[in-house]
């Protein structure tokens, strides 16, 4: 077996080296494929690793996710914002011409922002999983596989490819939650997987409809071709809900959100981070990229109604979070609430709203990643997540408490942290769209403040629970993980301009297609 595993590892490395070498030799960098392939290669190598080298797993995972993150940052820096932005780093290759499938990748400003988010979260997620001891290799391999899927969705310009990556991103969750989760993990894993795949089934129907109705010969899944197609209004109105709800499930759209609290609460730390941080964004991303962009008339017809549901998302999520007793449930419901802001921003179809929505996708991704990491670290020390069991942990864990405070403040939309920028833009957009909704949505943030501070007060403030008299504060790996995340929150909260400009270059394209109000 040793020979086999070394052979496999050698082959993967050689393929990787060959791939990069080819790019270097021909001076044609496949940026997006590179970013996508890195985690996958890491995952394959980890799977091929023998058991006795299992302790190397984490380092390999970090060694592959760190360059992925750095490349994402490079991607964001290299993205040319000047002018209309548009799609960049495009790659195109024929795949299955008989079905009109092509390997077609490209990102616009929105996609680039999501790449950045994913890169940061996956590296932080690898660090946050440092304490996993059970079946480590499978854990990291699945985690990295999933990440490749996520990258793929954000870059796909072909609906088939989009769907393929989408499933690759969603399905490993079943095992990740089922094997390494806590609590009713099998139940949660099953619920999450079935619910999300039900969404994807509806998406698929929508995709096929788009495919046939485009009327081009030969038929194609290429999204750029579909963008040029004017689907009939009746068609758009019929299929928009399929796509919106299909993606909406993943985006935590009320009332299709109940997989999220259970799933996030049961999932292991890094999986919660990735899931709430990145995967839920796939849903919102899909709504923008597929539902809204391809079916603009349908969007205009349906979104005013869906917007009402997002208001429920925001306020209801916050109110429900208020009376949760389990820390992870609080954060899960807060995700439901915050994702409502994202979808509301999309529903407004305004410049400010869409920019805010995407910014919130980024911001919430980082913030919720930070939260879940913190909860994971705390749970690792206290072995409880029940809020009432905590108390005064700040005394013993000042570092964790500080990061929790930063996360909490970002969550309640404190200016100076990235959450505010996003929420503010969404509210601006929502006001133009419908003032009543904007007011109710804004009221939601008061509730958010209430429950976030309540959690802070109950868990980290107050007299120290003597039960935890000798727990320890965060270690170096954890601090690194938390610092990366918190730095993003602060950086883009203090000076959002670069990120907003990046996102705006994509939003301009969406609005040009949708023809939304300014």
């Amino acid at each position: 077996m040793a020979a086999v595993s070394f052979t496999v590892i050698g082959l993967v490395l050689a393929a990787l080296a060959g791939f990069f070498g080819y790019q270097a030799a021909t001076a044609t960098p496949f940026w997006l494929t590179d970013v996508m392939v890195l985690p996958l290669a890491g995952g394959l190598i980890i799977m091929a690793l023998q058991d006795k080298y299992a302790r190397m797993t984490k380092w390999i995972a970090a060694a592959f996710s760190l360059p992925a993150m750095l490349m994402c940052i490079g991607l964001a820096l290299a993205f040319r914002i000047d002018g209309a932005g548009g799609y960049q780093f495009a790659e195109h290759a024929s795949w299955t011409p008989a079905l009109g499938i092509s390997y077609s990748l490209a990102v616009d400003g929105i996609g680039t922002a999501m790449f950045l988010l994913t890169g940061v979260i996956i590296f932080a997620g690898c660090l946050a999983s440092w304490s996993v001891e059970h079946r480590v290799r499978e854990f990291y391999a699945l985690l990295l596989l999933l990440t490749s899927g996520v990258f793929g969705v954000f870059a796909a310009r072909d609906l088939f490819l989009f769907f393929l990556f989408y499933e690759v991103a969603v399905l490993p969750m079943y095992l990740l939650i089922g094997i390494w989760g806590t609590g009713p993990k099998e139940y949660s894993a099953m619920k999450l997987t079935l619910y999300l795949l039900l969404g994807s089934a509806f998406m698929l129907v929508g995709f096929l409809a788009l495919y046939f109705a485009s009327g081009v010969t030969p038929l194609t899944f290429d999204m750029d071709t579909m963008l040029k197609t004017a689907y009939s209004p009746g068609f758009q109105k019929l299929f928009f809900p399929f796509l919106f709800l299909g993606f909406g499930i993943l985006a935590g759209f009320w009332p299709l959100h109940t997989w999220s609290p259970d799933g996030h609460a049961s999932a292991p730390t890094a999986v919660s981070m990735l899931h709430a941080g990145v995967l839920m964004k796939l849903g919102a991303f899909g709504i923008i990229r597929v539902a809204v962009e391809l079916l603009p008339i349908g969007a205009h017809a349906w979104l005013p109604y869906f917007a009402v549901f997002t208001i429920v998302n925001i306020t209801y999520g916050a109110l429900v979070a208020m009376s949760q007793t389990d820390l992870k449930y609080v954060i899960a419901y807060s995700s439901v609430s915050h994702m409502g802001i994202v979808v509301l921003g999309i529903c407004t179809l305004t410049d400010a709203g869409l920019n805010g929505a995407v910014f919130q996708m980024f911001s919430h991704g980082i913030m919720t990643g930070l939260f879940f990491a913190l909860v994971g670290f705390t749970y690792g020390r206290t072995h409880t997540r029940i809020i009432a069991d905590f108390g005064g942990l700040g005394k013993r864990m000042p570092v964790l408490a500080t990061f929790f405070t930063i996360g909490g403040l970002a969550s309640l939309g404190l200016p100076g942290l990235s959450g505010f920028v996003a929420e503010f833009m969404v509210f601006l957009g929502a006001w133009r769209f419908n003032p009543v909704l904007a007011v109710i949505a804004a009221a939601g943030i008061v509730f958010t403040a209430a429950y976030v501070l309540r959690v802070l007060q109950r868990c980290f403030w107050g007299p120290l629970n003597p039960h935890f008299a000798d727990i320890t504060d965060a270690n170096r790996v954890e601090i690194l993980c938390l610092t990366i995340l918190a730095a993003c929150l602060i950086l883009f909260g203090m000076y959002p301009r670069p990120l907003v400009s990046l996102i705006n270059s994509g939003v301009v394209g969406v609005l040009a297609r949708v023809g939304g109000g300014g």
Binding site: A98, L99, E167, E186, V205, L208
Partner: protein
């Protein structure tokens, strides 16, 4: 009819001949074999099927028509023959170790071989008579194969049930045929097609077609003609079930394509709505009834019932794309279901039972087996990047292409695939999430490993690079429809 005595170009039967020759050798060897020596029948069957397959693929028999079209060789026939031989080869390869200790393996292999020959003749049948005879050749040899496990009463019960329900359905089938004969005045498919034309058709013929649907439904295990399937899948010898679940089902779809799409397209107004009903019922019952199962073979039986429902969508579409989707899906299904049954074969032999609970911790006991089984289940559920996804996508697409009126069928299918995912995940949960109940690895054996790897490769290749197979199926399906 004057062709019967004509000089016949027997070379059109080359592939069947190769297999038959192998069967003859097998019989002879088993006869002269000294007692106590292991029977080489498996090897001979494998060699025969692989030879026939290679011959069929590398040197395809050219198009031909014998006896006024009572037997034809065309692209469709060649495609299905290759498919049957592939199934036979893989099933034989995988069951070497399983069969080692069985006293009845000689007869069993013979029956599988005969049934394959029957299937190969069946897909070439161009006349109701030859169709009926070859169909019965397939069926009777499978009845026998199903009941051959003499050491288990359940095997015989399964065989008898299979036979009785099969004979009952056959009776309906040929009763229907007799009306078609009355309505169209001929048993030749070409003549029947001409008689039906595009018009509403003779009422007797219409009634006959409806009755024939019952017989076809039995073959593909479509609801409500499916009820034999769970019992036979559970009771029959696993290699037979593995083989029958893919090959016999494929044979059923082959004659469905031949009869309905190829011959009775003029009556599509009659059979399309009926098949729609059957498809929905089949998908629904298959998906739901599998949920409470605790026996893996029974679960897979219901799963294969559900799969038949999906394939029916392609027939319902009735277009070249629909037929090619059916052909594609059947090939994918071959790899997928065989992978599943090979895993079952190995685990059941090791565990001594078929309980799903025996799969607990399989991922730790035999990673390859668990991986193959998981991929098979995911492919059945239609998850990319596996062949099952492309196949299902293609089937759904073919239905949506026809008209948006079939949209509901696709929505039902897509939703039910989530229901079926539920029980597939339950099995995956046992394999990957639960801890092993007993320690120790489960050995797979080299032959079965090769078979499994072939199946995995088949699933993955059809999922990631389906181009070749797609082009082939499109080429096969093209001439069948539309004239």
């Amino acid at each position: 009819m004057n062709g019967f005595m004509q000089a016949v170009d027997w070379s059109v039967f080359r592939d069947e001949g190769i297999l038959l020759a192998a069967l003859g050798v097998m019989l002879a060897v088993d006869l002269v074999r000294p007692r106590g020596r292991p029977s080489p029948s498996g090897w001979i069957l494998l060699a025969g099927s692989v030879l026939a397959l290679l011959a069929g693929v590398l040197r395809p028999v050219p198009d031909a028509s014998l006896w006024d079209g009572a037997y034809v060789v065309d692209a469709l026939a060649r495609y299905f023959k290759a498919l049957f031989l592939l199934a036979l080869a893989l099933a034989t390869l995988a069951s070497f170790r399983y069969m080692q200790a069985k006293a009845w393996r000689g007869e069993f292999n013979l029956m599988l071989g005969v049934s394959t020959v029957g299937m190969m003749l069946l897909v070439g049948a161009g006349d109701l008579v030859s169709l009926f005879v070859s169909l019965e050749l397939v069926s009777i040899s499978l009845y026998v194969a199903a009941s051959l496990a003499r050491d288990e009463v359940t095997s015989q019960e399964a065989g008898l049930k299979y036979l009785l329900v099969g004979a009952f359905s056959t009776a309906l089938f040929i009763f229907g045929m007799s009306f078609v004969y009355a309505g169209c005045g001929s048993t030749s498919l070409a003549a029947i097609r001409a008689a039906i034309g595009t018009g509403p058709g003779h009422p007797l013929a219409v009634a006959g077609v409806v009755l024939m649907l019952a017989g076809l439904g039995f073959k593909i295990a479509a609801v409500p003609f499916h009820m034999w399937a769970p019992d036979v899948y559970q009771g029959g010898p696993t290699p037979m079930v593995a083989f029958a679940s893919v090959a016999s089902k494929a044979a059923g779809f082959a004659i469905m394509i031949r009869l309905l799409v190829g011959t009775m397209a003029g009556l599509s107004g009659v059979w399309i709505p009926l098949l729609c009903v059957m498809a929905v019922a089949t998908m629904t019952v298959g998906s739901f009834a599998a949920i409470p199962q605790t026996n893996i073979r029974r679960l897979l039986a219901y799963s294969s019932i559900a799969q038949a429902g999906y394939v029916l969508i392609g027939i319902v579409a009735g277009t070249p794309r629909g037929v090619s989707a059916v052909l594609f899906y059947l090939l994918v299904y071959l790899f997928t279901n065989l992978a599943a049954f090979i895993s079952v074969l190995i685990v059941s032999r090791h565990a001594g039972n078929d309980e799903i609970a025996s799969y607990a911790g399989l991922a730790q006991r035999s990673p390859l087996l668990a991986l193959a089984f998981m991929l098979a289940l995911l492919s059945l559920a239609g998850i990319p990047p596996l062949g099952g996804f492309v196949g299902k996508l293609y089937l759904f697409a073919s239905a949506m292409e026809v008209s948006t009126r079939l949209l509901w069928l696709v929505v039902v299918g897509a939703t039910l695939s989530i229901v079926s995912l539920f029980y597939y995940l339950m099995v995956i949960r046992q394999m990957y999430i639960e801890a092993p109940r007993e320690p120790g690895a489960i050995p797979v054996g080299p032959a079965a490993t090769i078979a499994l790897l072939c199946c995995i490769a088949g699933m993955v290749v059809t999922g990631i690079w389906p181009n070749g197979v797609l082009d082939l199926t499109i080429a096969v399906a093209g001439p069948l429809v539309g004239h």
